[in-house]
Amino acid sequence: MGITTKALLKSLWVFHLSTGSCNNCDIEVLDCLTPRFDVERFGIKLVGSIRHADVLLVTGSCNRKSAERLVKLYKEAPQPCLVVAIGECSLSRGIFIPSYNCPRPLDKLVPVSAYIPGCPPKPEAIISGIVKLIQKVKGK
């Protein structure tokens, strides 16, 4: 694998985006940074701009207004940028499949590298998912 991918595995900088979610998954992502779970000791940091991010964490069922924003944001991200779908809404939209305002699931809009199911997934599950992603990238 290339040197950029190797470098990013040392310390992941994540950017978090919600595309029309109930915020439960977003709160659990923030919970990972608080003292009980504390992912900052692994070098994972939440950044304020997509330009600095290695990983894009997406929650929410991609409703029409947010989907435009998501696609634009993904185009601005420096490659390689891995997309992680967190929560049932970003996996397949779950209960919101018949909704008139949620037409397409996340993986039809951007390529997704990891899926973390749950409603919401517990912080332990989110950390485990990120670890699996790192192993997957290393193993390539």
Partner: protein, 159 residues
Amino acid sequence: MIKRKEVLADLQTRFKKEITDIFDKSPHRVYIDIPPSALVPMSRYIFQDLGARFNIASGVDTRSHIEILYHFTIEDINLLISLRVRLNRQKPVIASLTTVCEAANWIEREIHELLGVDFTGHPDLRRLLLSDQWPDKVYPLRRDYKEWDKGAVRDRGVK
């Protein structure tokens, strides 16, 4: 402190010509049917003189007409008054309630874009929730709403 019976008797005498039906459901719920023209004067009386709080308005598309219920709460006696107006389904029009209270502003924008009701006198009747790509004159909460988006994916993606 004014009592529930007095409030209802007062409304019935004051707006005797306008009220077409009163359904006294329970000690805390009252549903009053009125014509659309009586909405603003009656709401003004309930909001300003009785000191009620404007709760929300809920629009319903029954297949024969469009109904809007305006809910007001009088906290001191724990009474929820719902005023029901019936509008013509082909051309639903009613006066805006923003002249009575500012709280009606957003809900009228929402009913306008989801049900197609026109609120005359509203200061700013643009879209609240739906995106700009949403086509005009397509109202999601109507009974005859059909899927217009050809690219929508409606299965779970599992073969």
